[in-house]
Symmetry: C2
Subunit: 342 residues, 2 copies
DNA sequence: TATCAGATTGCAATCGATTGCGGCAATAAA
DNA sequence: TTTATTGCCGCAATCGATTGCAATCTGATA
């Protein structure tokens, strides 16, 4: 069951010429006579000849393929980033190989290694939540593999990065909660080792401080998935009587929390306002619609691929590492009070 | 900026042996003395040697890579299918290359061609909505490329297929609508050239017939996305007074329709019941939660990859084409009345 | 007729890894 | 001392495509 696709040698044999003549004829090399060229081109078209990309990559030492590692495709943010990457990649003549780490460090290591084994020209990476050892990245970096991190970046490596201004986004949305009347805001956060988690927490704290509200560490819970909300529902419910707002690190967690509260008789947003982060399309479909900040996944993907492409074209290696920061935009919806209330 | 990764020849030169000796030593060939073997293995480990997958694929004429073409990654159904595929693929030692057609025929053609150029061992395909010409599939099929279609299959090719029982799913959910009191059900359907669209329409019609309801062609609208609902909202609203139920071809369309009706003052489900297809996670998050049928994307992906893997191992080419049919399960939620009402 | 330029085409090496076969040495057997 | 055996390793071809250089042939010029 092995497919047999026509090679340049097959054509050469069939037409009684050498492989080099075929190769030259197909790319209009002036050395080849018109008669021979036409003969070869016609035959190639007839048998639907296509150059073997593996052989080409091996010979040219360039695969025109870039590798992507994302935590999970099922999240809209990541799949829209990938669309952004792909659209730029296609337009520049690159193919992409997509891998999921499933938020698992070992799978991430294997993925990076496999992509390097396939000699991708560069890497686009969003780290898994559980990655604390960066040796696989450092090793690739030391081997001169061009790489761009996006969203969850690796601080240990000085390369291109595309990120959201998580601090500012969190500060904005927390401020909005406070300005619409919230005085006691629960933060559902993510793993402390993730930069985005730290930044969003800092933004939350900064907003409190901006409004002279004392930070209460008991109002921060490590809980960043709907499953996490389910697991910690007793904790969340026990705390729910003393809060009037929730800022969750992402939309799905915010929505899960909102459902939990609704089920337990809370009026959203009048008793408790709920806000998320990311502006997943779901945010607009739930009831009440979720207030959140928009992360421009598609554009971030485009930017990441553009940075990588520039680096790949930079033969003299003179581009310094760059960091592109996307400003998230507040999306006011009905899961939070819209006006100031005292 | 080209990465330099160590090759077997680099090792050979460094240790003053031949490349063949290195190759044999690394795979414990008995011809190589223990001393030489250890020396080579130690050096290889030190420089972090990894075999070039391109060279291996070229030499062995097997890439251990399979190609996937899906319409769009952002849909949960497709990304969960991919997770199912990947998990099986990894466990069998295969890598995957994922392509999106964006529901565009030409992009699909390009994707298939690019995957074949990369000499994938097999293809896993879900056709785009706009594909009406199957030459790119037929050509691959004629070249003996093992392929499995899933969800949206290509009838023109006699190969493995993994599908949902769309007819039965549509019949079930339409029957449920009727049995809970609906007498006039609008169907929001997809392109007629898609099998899944035809089957779901047939299932809908069969359910009507089962319950002695006369089919009304005016109650079928070609509308299969939230955007489509927006575009046809006047049509839908003009028809809304004469209906008491909607069966949409997928969940996102059903939800969009539900929102449209809610905005226009309809009570869901008491005035109009709404049902979807697919059981996207969103279905459970909207209010009211959407009644739908569950399509087991992850399991379908696993099955598709398993079929392909069996075919790849079938050197004698004696496995006949198989079709696996997944039965969708009704998920009763609150967007439809739960009891019979007259 | 000898020589040369120009037009065509093939040879062979290369990319990285694999593998059948042959070669060389040391040791054992005759 | 000669022959055979065994252990260990390298040569060279191969996968598909590219490319510098050499080779061949034609027709033209001296």
């Amino acid at each position: 069951m092995k497919p047999h696709l026509t090679s340049i040698n097959d054509i050469a044999k069939a037409l009684n010429v050498s492989a080099s003549t075929v190769s030259r004829a197909l790319k209009d090399h002036p050395d080849i006579s018109e008669a021979t060229r036409n003969k070869i081109k016609e035959f190639a078209a007839k048998v639907n000849y296509r150059p073997n990309a593996l052989a080409l990559s091996l010979k040219k030492q360039v695969s025109n393929t870039i590798g992507i590692v994302v935590p999970e495709l099922v999240h809209h943010f990541f799949s829209s980033i990938i669309s952004g990457i792909e659209d730029i990649a296609y337009s520049k003549g690159y193919r992409v190989m997509i891998c999921q780490s499933n938020e698992d460090f070992q799978r991430e290591e294997i993925n990076v290694q496999a992509l390097l084994d396939h000699r991708v020209d560069g890497l686009l990476i969003c780290m898994s939540k559980t990655t604390e050892n960066f040796q696989h990245f450092i090793s690739a970096y030391n081997n001169q593999v061009p790489m761009v991190f996006f969203d969850r970046v690796c601080k240990a490596i000085d390369t291109d990065k595309v990120i959201t201004d998580d601090f500012n986004g969190a500060r904005q949305i927390t401020s909005f909660l406070i300005e619409t009347g919230c005085k006691s805001i629960l933060h559902l956060g993510t793993h402390p080792q993730l930069d985005i988690g730290q930044e969003r927490l800092k933004g939350y704290m900064q907003a409190l401080s901006d409004h002279h509200i004392v930070f209460d560490p008991d109002l921060v819970i490590n809980c960043d998935t709907p499953k996490g909300v389910e697991e910690k529902k007793d904790h969340i419910l026990s705390i729910s009587r003393q809060i009037d707002g929730i800022f969750a690190v992402n939309d799905s967690t915010a929505i899960a929390a909102m459902h939990l509260l609704k089920e337990n008789g809370y009026d959203i947003p009048n008793q408790i306002s709920v806000a998320g982060f990311g502006d997943d399309p779901v945010a607009n479909l739930v009831d009440p619609a979720l207030t959140t900040v928009e992360q421009q996944g598609y554009q971030m993907g485009q930017e990441a691929m553009s940075l990588l492409q520039e680096r790949l074209s930079d033969k003299e290696n003179e581009i310094p590492p760059r960091t592109k920061i996307f400003q998230p935009a507040l999306k006011k919806r009905n899961s939070t009070r819209l006006q100031f209330k005292n």
